[in-house]
Amino acid sequence: MSATTAIPTQADAPARAGAAAPATIEIRGLHKVYKIGEERVHALRDVDLTIRRNEFVAIMGASGSGKSTLMNILGCLDGATKGAYVLNGRPTHKMGMGRLARVRNEEIGFIFQSFELLPRASALKNVMLPMLYSAKHLFSARRRAKRSLEMVGLADRMGHKPNQLSGGQRQRVAVARALVNDPALLLADEPTGNLDSKTTVEIIDLFRELHASGQTIVIVTHEEDVAGHAERIVRLRDGEVMSDYPTNDDPVHQDWIERMASGQGSRLEAARDETASVEGAEA
């Protein structure tokens, strides 16, 4: 492992996970070229990225930076044009669509901006969905789904349909669904994009809890305050990795914190204070 991970990134310096933690994601020399008519668009150029087990990484970048392309490849929804992507020891760049579907099922938990729950199915049925497509937990699907919903704090909402749940609760159901197959990687695409500040806090706190319990998490976001909760920020620009620092060393993020401190404060902090004051008042 050490021989292949000789990519000098700042994150390789002992982070919280420690240098000994095995890599969950290993990307080497990744290129993605789209053909739009005659034109060839180089969405990703020679990306190298290693994410170790139990890391909490935010991927940031402006639109057109290749953020979404990288997300799709990380999620095995799309193949790379060139380069290697090893997910949890599985060389996905050598796989066809059928095998990739299986990898998505077993190794990746997806969380989407707009939740993507089945509207007519109960929370429990929604959480059971990934297990419908795998024979792995055939006889324990319901039990696992219940456990997963308990984990995100929705034990009393199992029979509710998505339209009977609040936005935060819907996203919790989505998180429960993502976790139900014990994935190696939890992949969230703008998970708080459709939520108000207060529920954003809820979901971010949930992510932190999961991280604390050992889950590897990758969030794609454009919100600095959300990214601030990750322990490492990877920034993309024009299809290349522009910077890759632990959050506390990230100059852009530190700049942002200073700006916020001098200004009105972050949206997130404000929401947190508000919650605290409401709770305080209630107490």
């Binding site: 059928g98 579907a101 998505r104 989407f112 969905l129 497509y133 055939l138 669904r177």
Partner: protein
């Protein structure tokens, strides 16, 4: 994992997938009830019509067969006939059947037990000064009673002496009694037929045959001995009415009659018969040919309706695929194999078709039940189970065919684009 689970897991997996998908599809049908009903309309109507037609046909078949049974399964007819290519050389009077031929058939064909020649003519009847024109007068032999199974109500049948001496005796049926205002028991009265005085010896029963149309109670009939009839009208046409010993030996009886008559008439081996033989068996066969024709037409109709219905199903499935693009994207993202997505939409189309078919079968059976209740002679109308199975099979096939293209479309969707679809 214990061995049981390892062995059954793939099976249970597929089964669970199919069952869940089927329930999902039924849910879809009910959640869009109006749309689904309109979609299934073609299939419902097509199946209902075919089931109704087949049920009605079964009822008609049962009725006709029952009629034939009353008519007599052992009965045969024959008459002289000039084949097409002999029409220039042979006249119809040359091929007329004779009593001599009747006698040699009776003598030499062991499978024929009874025979009566029949000739018939309309004559003017005069009773007690009242004239009735155009009464149907038939000449027969006494065996006619047994062959037609029409016995005397009053009086006696013709005796051997009546035949041998060409006596002027007759018997009538009830309709003739009514029409000519005879006594209720006309035995012993005299009736004038074609200017000759006939002694009425009895009243014969009339058989109730709804379907075959002959001998219906509305028609007046007078019967006189065959020889007497021939003596009065030597040029009338002659038919034979025969009875076989056993309906199973119909082919045998026909063959022996042909042999006897061809030999008697000195026909060349390559010449066609100058007579024709018909028996009930062939009438039943003709009816069966007709029934099969109707069945074929019904099958073609069901084929076309299923085609049209299938186009409707395909249309709605395509709409469903494009409406549920995001759902398909999600299912693929969480690991649904393309083949599984294909299966899901295929099952949905099949469920739609089979549900439509089931409703159609129910409606069709309702029609058949109504027929049975309301139409007296349709008492045996029923739908054969084979046709119900066939209807469901055809609907399932229709579902597979019409669902295939939309299902392939769904299975080949790119999950990234599908998830971004608005």
């Amino acid at each position: 994992m214990n061995p049981f689970r390892i062995f059954f897991a793939p099976l249970v997996f597929i089964l669970r997938l199919c069952v869940q998908t089927a329930f999902l599809a039924i849910g879809q049908i009910f959640s869009r009830f109006v749309r689904s009903s309109l979609t299934m309309f073609g299939i419902i109507i097509g199946v209902a019509v075919v089931i109704g037609t087949i049920g009605g046909l079964t009822g008609m078949k049962g009725f006709v067969l029952k009629e034939f049974e009353t008519f007599g399964a052992r009965k045969m007819f024959m008459w002289g006939y000039v084949p097409e290519d002999m029409r220039t050389t042979v006249s119809w009077s040359d091929v007329k059947l004779t009593t001599y031929e009747a006698n040699i058939i009776l003598e030499r064909a062991p499978s024929i037990e009874k025979l009566s020649p029949i000739c018939s003519m309309r004559m003017d009847a005069n009773y007690d000064g009242k004239l009735v024109r155009g009464v149907d007068v038939s000449g027969i032999w006494p065996d006619w009673h047994d062959i037609e199974d029409r016995q005397m109500i009053f009086g006696r049948p013709f005796s051997r002496i009546d035949i041998e001496e060409n006596r002027q005796v007759c018997f009538v049926n009830a309709a003739a009694v009514d029409e000519m205002k005879l006594d209720t028991d006309p035995t012993g009265d005299y009736l004038q037929l074609g200017g000759r005085r006939f002694l009425i010896v009895g009243l014969v029963e009339t058989k109730d045959l709804q379907f075959m149309g002959n001998g219906g109670d509305a028609q007046s009939e007078v019967f006189i001995p065959f020889e007497t009839h021939k003596m009065m009208n030597p040029y009338t046409w002659t038919n034979f009415l025969l009875q076989m010993t056993d309906p199973e030996q119909a082919a045998d009886a026909e063959a022996s009659i042909r042999f006897i008559l061809r030999k008697h008439r000195n026909l060349d081996p390559e010449a066609e018969d100058t007579f024709q033989i018909r028996m009930l068996q062939s009438v039943i066969e003709q009816f069966n040919v007709m029934a099969n024709g109707i069945t074929l037409v019904a099958s073609i109709i069901v084929g076309f309706t299923l085609l049209v219905g299938g186009v409707g199903i395909m249309n709605i499935m395509l709409a469903s695929v494009s409406e549920r693009t995001r759902e398909i994207g999600l299912r693929k993202a969480v690991g649904a194999q393309p083949l599984v997505v294909l299966l899901q939409f295929l099952i949905e189309a099949v469920v739609l078709c089979v549900v439509g078919g089931a409703i159609g079968v129910l409606i069709g059976m309702g029609i058949v039940t109504l027929l049975r209740q309301l139409v007296s002679w349709m008492s045996e109308a029923a739908v054969p189970p084979g046709w119900i199975i066939l209807a469901f099979g055809a609907c399932g096939f229709c579902g597979v065919v019409s669902g295939m293209f939309p299902a392939i479309k769904a299975a080949s969707l790119n999950p990234i684009n599908a998830l971004r679809h608005e």
